[in-house]
């Protein structure tokens, strides 16, 4: 392993891997407390029904069962789960999301009752013995149908099933742009519902300590601090100082572990009520029905342009299916992170966006890898191709013509309410990607192949996304009820080893390595001398967690700032120990030395020892060697890039084969190239999943037809190509290293690249669009349609 500075910029092998490779990772279900009991949740089999009665007697009588509970048991002590991010600036209708359904269930998977038993097998046996009588009600699963007059109504608090109506942009300017347009392209997109599918499902382990009256919750959480506050302040009857949350090793999340879930409250309540540790771990099929889904937006789009390909205006009307109840940040995500990003990488003078959030009898929908930006990017990248098709232009030329030019940064899309795009050079990524695939030769090959019946397609996606989510002031205007800084607490221990606690949280991204590289470089020590900690609310004052590709840009900057504060003190103590003035010393390679006299020096360990034992701290200075930072950046960061996908479509079966995939991304300077490439590859795979394989489908009664991995296709190794990655480096002026963020870029970029490629493969046959997932069946049916 590389151990010498500078570590930033090197592909340092991950510190977390040895434990994960040997079976020593401790994920939620691996945590063993004595006498742990197991919770099983009885869920609604109906999309929409009144609960007539619940008989728990047979379940309660099963040996091993210690409790069976319904909403009635909890009504005085557990309150509904709050929505922390209503849509900003508009009225939101937020009906209560109860932890157990009262009187009525609103989606298949809605929790009705739960069992606690001394064995998970018995808990499931007992759960099935709970006898619930229902009166089925008409259900509505489709957002467009839910807003029609006469549609089944889910909540008295949300007439017409509407959560909110939200707009962004300038309607008058947009109307004027359309009035002056030479060409208008119209399109309808259903950005389908996805199931996040982290390999580890969700769960909670609760332990109430009667001695200290403290409740500890181990939770599969991307943001334990936030969950703690939400649970303590809004849901549970547990004061904040008696509640501790720990996120153990997390087996992937992709957004689905951001939200507040009923089981967190149920296990906490049950552990205190029963006096035993209570564990809940979802089965996969439970995860499919009851853990938040992603996407599910129905969009009508119009793009106004001149015949030379210049974009003049964009109109977007989106119906966002929110599912049965308002999830933790859903209304904010489908508005701010979607609507304010529809300009994409292009200079579009006038934009008008309307978003309606709609309740339906389906699992809740919330942020899923990309969260709003994939929906925005897919829309704009498909529209560019449709415009090119309409004008018989090369889609490359339409992109190039409309790109925000490099000298326009910082660029703010007019009236859209987005923060200024920080920096970018979009055409360079396009050029490089075109060069990689040898675009003109590829087009010639395509032309040649078509004569022989070969269906080859080339798809381009030039994206920009917003990440490094912050600052508090902006995100609060978007509806979020909390801050959006990140914390970093660094402590140089008495022996010179360094413990750094970040408020962000790794669930596969490798924070322990990337952050250790940053801290080690700051102090001029080796990777092995730095420990990065996170995930325990008892270990850090507060932190916002990991999502929105924000850990490095915000959390990494916070770490650097804390290190810099400590270094000031190191210099002061070092100078004092060396009996010279602070301005006469310098700190380098882990020691303080007198300028010009490198022989006269004190090591970091000597200084730390003096700092903690208070033997050599300058007069008037406190002992100790630590610093905490809450870094609230001035703005967000905006990664960008161009992906090109080349596909072959089998005309006989409709099967799509990705034969090349080239990605040129610009995420700013990278701390660990190996980890950054890994994020991109995984992200691209997930975006390909949406384009070709994945889609959650409900029937009209609200039954999830894709209820297990037998029917929902998570991409397998053999379905994916080798990705060819390259990058350009345009620093962000916002973050410490100029880094922008990389967690979601691949997913955001790849879906439209693949869809554009498949449509391109069939375009000469008159096919202009295909609905995702673009399955062989859909391709074949499209090929059968008379054009």
């Amino acid at each position: 392993m590389v151990t010498t500075a500078p570590l930033v910029g090197q592909s340092v092998k991950r510190k977390e891997d040895p434990r994960l490779l040997t079976g020593n990772g401790r994920y939620l279900d691996d945590i063993r407390l004595p006498n742990t009991h197991h919770m099983a949740v009885r869920r609604s089999p109906y999309g929409h029904a009144n609960i007539l009665s619940i008989d728990t007697e047979a379940a309660a009588n099963l040996p091993g069962v210690v409790g069976v509970f319904t909403a009635e048991d909890l009504k005085d002590s557990v309150k509904p789960l709050p929505c922390g991010m209503p849509a900003g600036g508009v009225e939101n209708h937020l009906p209560p999301h109860r932890v157990l359904a009262q009187d009525r269930v609103r989606y298949v998977g809605d929790a009705v009752a739960f069992v606690v038993a001394n064995d998970p097998y018995i808990a499931h046996d007992a759960m099935e013995l709970i006898d619930v009588q229902y009166q089925e009600l008409p259900a509505v699963v489709d957002a467009a149908r839910a807003v029609e007059p006469g549609a089944p109504q889910l909540h008295d608090e949300a007439p017409g099933n509407i959560c909110m109506h939200w707009t962004a942009g300038n309607k008058d300017d947009t109307d004027a742009a359309f009035a002056n347009a030479e060409v208008v392209v119209k399109h309808h997109i259903y950005n389908q519902r996805l199931i996040p599918n982290p390999l580890e499902t969700r769960g909670t382990l609760a332990n109430y300590d009667a001695g200290t009256e403290e409740t500890t919750l181990w939770v599969t959480s991307q943001l334990p601090h936030v969950h703690k506050i939400l649970l303590s302040a809004f849901v549970l009857d547990i004061p904040e100082h008696k509640l501790r949350l720990i996120a153990p090793e997390i087996g992937g999340a992709f957004g689905s572990k951001i939200f507040l879930y009923a089981d967190m409250a149920l296990t906490a309540w049950a552990s205190k009520h029963l006096g035993v540790p209570v564990k809940f771990v979802e089965t996969r099929m439970e995860n499919y029905v009851a853990t938040q889904h992603g996407r599910d937006q129905t969009q009508d789009i119009e793009l106004a342009a001149r015949r030379d390909g210049t974009m003049l205006g964009l109109r977007v009307k989106s119906l966002a299916n929110l599912g049965a109840y308002p999830s933790t940040i859903a209304p904010g995500v489908v508005t701010a992170l979607f609507g304010r990003m529809v300009s994409g990488a292009y200079r579009i003078p006038a934009i008008w966006v309307e978003v309606d959030g709609v309740y339906t009898n389906t699992a809740m929908v919330d942020a899923y890898r990309g969260a709003g930006r994939p929906e925005a990017t897919y829309l704009v990248e498909r529209m560019v191709d449709l415009l090119a098709d309409e004008l018989a232009m090369d889609p490359v030329d339409v992109r190039r013509k409309n790109f925000i030019p490099p000298d326009a940064f910082p660029y703010t899309p007019p009236d859209l309410g987005m923060l200024p795009y920080d920096s970018g050079n979009y055409a360079v990524t396009l050029d490089r990607a075109l060069n990689h695939v040898n675009y003109s030769a590829l087009r010639a090959q395509q032309e040649e192949g078509r004569k022989a019946g070969r269906l080859m397609g080339i798809g381009i996606s030039s994206y920009v996304e917003v990440c490094g989510l912050a600052p508090s002031s902006w995100i609060q205007k978007q509806g979020w009820g909390g801050p959006m800084y990140e914390s970093a607490e660094i402590r140089v221990l008495p022996t010179g080893k360094i413990s750094a606690v970040t408020g962000s949280l790794s669930h596969g991204q490798g924070h322990e390595t990337t952050f250790a590289q940053i801290v080690a470089d700051e102090f001029g020590v080796g990777m092995g001398d730095v420990e990065i900690k996170y995930g325990d609310t008892a270990g850090a004052p507060f932190g916002m967690g990991t999502y929105g590709s924000r850990s490095l840009a915000v959390g990494g900057t916070a770490l650097q700032k804390s290190a810099q504060k400590i270094k000031e003190k190191i210099l002061a103590i070092g100078a004092n120990l060396l009996e010279v003035a602070p301005e006469d010393v310098e700190f380098d390679h882990g020691s303080v030395s007198v300028k010009g006299a490198p022989g006269s020096s004190k090591t970091l360990a000597e200084i730390a020892f003096a700092a903690w034992l208070n033997t050599g701290v300058p007069a008037g200075m406190e002992a100790g060697l630590e610093a905490t930072t809450y870094y609230d950046p001035p703005s967000c960061t905006f990664p960008f890039g161009t992906h090109i996908c080349v596909v072959d479509v089998d005309p006989d079966t409709g099967h799509v084969d990705i034969i090349r995939y080239v990605a040129v991304d610009d995420v700013g300077p990278v701390v660990n190239p190996m980890i950054v490439d890994g994020q991109l590859e995984g992200g691209i795979a997930q975006g390909i999943g949406q384009a070709l394989f994945e889609g959650a489908v409900y029937d009209k009664f609200g039954y999830l037809l894709t209820g297990s991995m037998i029917d929902y296709a998570v991409p397998r190794a053999s379905y994916l190509p080798n990705f060819e990655l390259d990058r350009t480096v345009t620093p962000s002026p916002i973050s410490a290293f100029g880094s922008k963020g990389v967690g979601e870029a691949g997913t955001i970029a790849s879906t439209p690249a693949v869809a554009n490629a498949v449509v391109d493969a069939l375009s000469h046959l008159g096919i202009r669009d295909l609905q995702m997932p673009i399955t062989p069946q859909r391709v074949w049916h499209a090929l059968q349609q008379p054009k």
């Binding site: 891997d17 490779l21 996969r284 890994g678």
Partner: protein, 164 residues
Amino acid sequence: MTRIITLRVNGKSYENEVSPRLLLVHYLRDVLGLTGTHIACDTSQCGACTVMFNGESVKSCTMLAVQADGGEVKTVEGLATNGKLHPLQQGFWEKHGLQCGFCTPGMLMSSLNLLQRNPDPTPDEIRHALEGNLCRCTGYQNIVAAVQWAAQEMKAKPAAGVAE
């Protein structure tokens, strides 16, 4: 009625009384405390629970503990020898073949089965051999590279990858 089963896991002998309905994966995790083997689906699709049983990769969620009676199991905990990582473990580390790590134990065991059958697989052969294992983080690219790395290592140092 419970039954007594006797088996060897990672070279150690165990005798336990189990219910017939106990799945092998629950036996390994909950009875023996070997939590390195994970559970990620209900339907035998994901391969996170893959272990070696009598020298072949199996999904331990699709096997009863009583079926393993008299057999020999190897889990991820038994892959390294004397604290030295197996070439596959080393390869996954070198090539960043894991992110969240949840699928990793199963991936390692499936890869072990592959290299036993085919010591020098092509990338396509690796992708095909790992069809029974889902990873949501990596896009598989680095997993393929990791298995190739291990195959090379095991060819260069044949003793390194011997499964005992």
